[in-house]
Symmetry: C2
Subunit: 365 residues, 2 copies
Amino acid sequence: MSSEEKALLVLTVDLEAVVSNWRLLRERLSEKANCAAVVKADAYGLGASKVVPALVRAGCGTFFVATLDEGIAVRKVAPRAEIFVLSGPVPGSAGAFVQAHLRPVLNSVEQTELWRGHARTLGHALECALHVDTGMNRLGLSAQDLLRPGVLDSIQPILGMTHLACAEVIDSPMNAEQRARFTDAFKPLALPRLSMAASSGIFLGEEYHFDLVRPGAALYGINPCPGQPNPLRPTVRLQARLLQIRDVDTPMTVGYGATHSVRTKGRIATAAAGYADGYFRSLGNHGYGVIKGVNVPAVGRVSMDLITFDISALPADAVKPGDMIDLIGPDHDVDALSAEAGTIGYEILTQLSRRAFRQYVGAAS
Amino acid sequence: MSSEEKALLVLTVDLEAVVSNWRLLRERLSEKANCAAVVKADAYGLGASKVVPALVRAGCGTFFVATLDEGIAVRKVAPRAEIFVLSGPVPGSAGAFVQAHLRPVLNSVEQTELWRGHARTLGHALECALHVDTGMNRLGLSAQDLLRPGVLDSIQPILGMTHLACAEVIDSPMNAEQRARFTDAFKPLALPRLSMAASSGIFLGEEYHFDLVRPGAALYGINPCPGQPNPLRPTVRLQARLLQIRDVDTPMTVGYGATHSVRTKGRIATAAAGYADGYFRSLGNHGYGVIKGVNVPAVGRVSMDLITFDISALPADAVKPGDMIDLIGPDHDVDALSAEAGTIGYEILTQLSRRAFRQYVGAAS
């Protein structure tokens, strides 16, 4: 039955904005660098099956995903793209990588052994990326691992990569340290391509671009340079329907646990979204929504399916049941909501509602 | 390619435990009360298409969902069950309710008017539930609304209900206050059935049971009586594969933002799950996982797809890459994880991983 008119919750994804963001990032790159797209976690919650074809049409040829299953899903909508799988192979999965023409990122000596074992079974070298850890201590080969005798036998690394730990802090000394370790580690191998920068790394300058950059968050409109104006376009809007508006004229409490008290006259609007829709419970008494350009505070606890907003700031006849409230929208972007929730835009996007009616707009859709 | 052996993340749902919890709750009820099941938000993330049929087989005849779309989905797997939709109708949706034999919960005068309008179009009265607000100030008719002339014309309320705001606080004075308002509000109507208690409300005693109770959280193993032993069985296990184990022998930092420092020798294991899988970012430097019965702390920031654990407490040969870590499991339940995350089990469950390989176990599956 879902349709925009009747849906309780509407998620609008602007594919044109995603493409525009990708182009803007590409224009910032050094001359020799290419711009990939990170589309893991279902394109950060926006829907990889829609985002990937739009980016392919715009000229994006390389995609990064987190898992084999994500790679297989992206392959279905991008038959000729280059697809890297960041988690690499586990025992028994190498065959599925080859079958879907996916290139694993090898993160450990064990993974180089797995990939080599499968290559020898097939009788020819297999392409892959090598991930060297330069300071995250999370995943990745060490520089010493790369020098082990035989570690690269039967595998054909076509990309060397690493992750920056503090790229959004422009003056962090870790950035230059990681860059030095990165170039040192790969110098002996002379790989065809190197890649270091994700969204924020692109803004550290051309010396961080190497041959390929891997923006994710910035594609989806998250500000890669916190504290500075966001050069990117917002890509999502999340609107919830108001189920009820109540006039409160005696002192009373609102919601579970009675954490909010209305002391004087006011009006409470109840919206059809909740923490099951990715509107974090931490937004209770902290978040804002926007109705007709006016910021209205979320009051009381966020319920699983309902949020209560104090709309006393709006004229009495300005809002009626059935109207929509922007949870994320032109006047209240993902970064604003995530700050209110005490997290980052990445987490908000990846938890976006599974229940919302989704619509894709923009020339690329 | 997903299978339990190769998957990076495995979510196991114990349907037998869900059914056992439903039976345990039913046995606590006063003689005349029936036990429904709340299966909104895809059965709190466990999967309504599996949970509902298991409960139907156990004898559950009444289900509550949040939205029309959820009701339509539950109808498909429970052709003869009674299904109430908590959000009620919006303009244009009444026909879809009737078509799927769904009973709306009417929460406002506007919704009674919508439902009456559709009943008159069809030429016969339509069944529904009436929700009276007794202290949440979130959604619901007022006691005064019920007394308006004509408010019940052409609609046939078969259930009167309300929500308790503080049911998990056994000695909260709000419980008895809400109970009194509830019975007062519905006294003039003499409806066939009344319903007040959800999971925690059941444990307030028989005087809160009325004709129907509506447990959700407790069915899925969340403790309805915080601070007391949990009488219910856990229903989910979430296991992540360890991609890499690194020996750290010099002081260094771990993860994004370098928020965790390893000062002496130790070992860090990187697991293939992250906040995109519902392992909240707030668990970074706060959460625990369990490997072979040993609690290991999450160190550094949680990434989108990866979590780093300090496994120094385990013997060096006890763990190898490819082993699994319990994020939620027999020794670390949903309530424990949610406390570490600073939230409640309900939010953890509803955000459970979309990427996990899901398996359903238990006699009822």
